[in-house]
Structure formats: C-alpha cells, structure tokens
Symmetry: C2
Subunit: 199 residues, 2 copies
DNA sequence: ACCTGAACACCGTTCAAGT
DNA sequence: ACCTGAACACCGTTCAAGT
C-alpha cells in the first residue's frame, strides 16, 4: 500500500483517539499502517511536524464551515470571542489527549495559528486599545488551553464511572471565560495609562 | 557514594538547568551521580514522582521566606494576587524549562498545590462570591503557566543574542494579569445571577 | 538503607538501496 | 514518489542479588 500525507494524518488521529498520545509513536503508527517507521519520514521531516499536522487537522474538523474569508462569527465582539473559545475547546475535547496535543504544538509555535487570528479579528470590534489586543488574545488562549487540558485530564482519569463532571466543568469554562471578557470590557470602556498592577 | 532523596533532587535541578528537560533522563541523572539508573528507583517510585519533587523544590526556592502560617503577602487582595503570580513566574523562569516542568506536574495534579492555596487565600479577601473563587484561581494559574511557558520558550529559542525581549514580555505579563484581576474585580463589585456568556 | 548488573520492551532518526 | 532493512544511540522500569 502507498500512502499520502493526509492518509498518515488520518490514521494518526485514529491511533491518538484509540490509544492516547503516549502510545502515538512513529514505530506504532508505521505498524498500524503496515509500513516501516522510516517510511513516515518521507511524509514528515520529524515527529513534531507530524504532531503539528494532526493539531491543524483536529482544529479544522472542529471549525464550523462558513464562507471562507467571511467573518467567522456573528454578533457583538464578546459573543464572537465566546463562540471561538467554545469551538476551540470542543475541537480539542473531541479526541483523546486533544488538548495536550494542541497545547504542545501551539506552545512551540509550530502552527495552529487559526484561533489566534480569529480572536484578534473579533477583538478588533471591541474598544480595547490596539496595543492591548495581542496580550488579550494570548490571555484568552492560555485560559482555553489550560482549562481544557485540566478538564480532559480529569475526565479521562475518572472515565471509569465518574458522573456529573461534564456539566460542572462546562459551566466552569463559561464562568472563567466570562471573567476574562469582563476584564477586557472594563479596559475597553475605561482605558488606562498605567494598566499593570504593582508588584 | 550514597545519596539521600534531597541529593538526587538537587542534582536533577542542576542537570535540568544545564541540559534542559529533554535531556533529564533517569539514565542521564544516574550517570551524573555515578550510580546505576535503577538506584534512583530506591528514592522515587517513578520518573513522574521525581519530576514532582523537582517542581516542588523549584517553587519552594522561589518563595519568599516569611513566617510559616502567616499571610503570604501584605496589602489589598489584588496586590497580594499580583505578588503571588509574579513570584510564581519568577520561580519558573529561574531554571531552564522551569515553566514546562511545573506546568506538566500541575496539569497531572501531582503536587505544586502551594500557589493554588495562596491564591485562594488572597481571593477570600475580595468581594468575589465564594463559588466563583476556585475558577478564578484556576484562571489566574492558567494565565501564569501559559504566559510563562510562552515567554521561556521564546526567550530560550532566541537566546543567541536576542535583545529587548525581557522588558517587553515582563510588562506583557503584568498587563494580562491586570486584565484578569479587572474581571475578578468587576464580579466582586457587581455580582451577577447569570455569569456565563452565551454560546 | 542504598546500590549493582542484567534484562525487557521500547523510542526517534538516518541512510543506502530498492521499485 | 514511496518504501525496505539495518543500524545508531538512546529510553523507563523491573528484579534478583549484593553490602
């Protein structure tokens, strides 16, 4: 059998979802495809590149279609931010270890820049001073990545019969997100000259 | 030579700071101590336990002494939160890959609970409704961990002569932190019945 | 209490060579 | 363009045995 890049990514996602990130090795993936591990290096320069491609695909699958180039969410800036953050969370929760994978890839700046750009566009519609927007975007992303990683870790740890965690964590996410959006809103309405708190 | 648990942790921190987290293997650490890798399993059940002990020690070293049991920071609740967050950031930045290590350990809930408890205590002095405090604490921690990981990754990547990143990132941290504290303050002064934003 | 020595079951990556 | 086969330099962990 001969494979394309996309075949490898697709199979890798299946392995990830079935066996977890720790078991997603180049050797294991090769075995799963019926191919030598070294064959994968024809499609990807190294494992990190493969992981970046997987992260991109997971985020792509979690994105609502929508006209390309069109605004990615409707409504007020805060509603658009909330939608983007919820979609990102949902995309990561859709696959086992999705948050850990996407978080690692984003931390090393290897791709998955789509959410960043979408949030920056949404925040352009707020009154937030332009120079604060990048840090606001990053603050939102750190929240979503960190919270979802926590959530997924605990969900998976207690997967043997734990109940009631879904709703609790779900509303928790909205509350934390609302807290940050409130902070952005207060800076949008009352810009300050000295924004940093004292040490 | 015969070692204690604390000797192993101390040497591990030196290896971490000199060669990075990726090179901190049980075999490498054994070699550095002049001991078989298997000897380390007399002191730690597994590598994760060792990493948790290292994270605890890094945080302990970054903590200002202060009387045990006494309030860990003086002043208003927001100043105390800011101090705790800055100290946590500084502690992680003090060692190579410190943020990645502490972040991993905290994500798996293995220890390093000190910052959580300190922030919870500081927030008890705000007007924030009690049920919102845990999510506020976690939101602050996710910000500090995520931002510092970003910062350290980029600082280390451009360590060959990059200039001016320190101050920029430093103020960035304060701004993002101020954003979240503003959000907490707005909820403290104007509690809501429906805190979550719409999807 | 602390360590050795040997083994088990793995890794990512490279590279000449094949079709 | 895609893959094989073999090799290199590693991993974490276990376990009987030593002092």
């Amino acid at each position: 059998m001969r494979y394309h890049r996309t075949d490898v990514v697709e199979r890798a996602i299946e392995v990830l979802d079935t066996y977890g990130l720790a078991d997603l090795s180049m050797r294991r993936l090769g075995q799963e495809l019926g191919v030598q591990p070294s064959a994968l290096y024809h499609h990807f320069a190294n494992k990190q590149s493969l992981l970046a491609a997987i992260a991109d695909e997971i985020l792509r699958r979690g994105t609502r279609p929508g006209a390309p180039g069109a605004p990615l969410a409707e409504g007020a800036w805060d509603e658009r931010c909330a939608t983007i953050c919820h979609d990102l969370r949902d995309a990561m929760l859709a696959y086992r270890d999705g948050a850990e994978l996407v978080g690692t890839v984003m931390a090393f700046g290897l791709g998955a820049t789509q959410p960043y750009d979408e949030l920056a566009a949404a925040l352009a519609g707020s009154g937030l001073p332009e120079e604060l927007r990048p840090i606001a975007v990053r603050t939102l992303l750190h929240f979503v990545l960190g919270h979802t990683l926590d959530e997924q870790t605990h969900l998976q740890a207690g997967s043997a019969g734990a109940i009631g965690d879904g709703p609790r964590e779900g509303s928790d996410f909205g509350v934390g997100l609302g807290l940050i959006l409130d902070g952005i809103r207060s800076r949008s309405e009352h810009p300050r000259t000295t924004p940093a708190p004292p040490r």
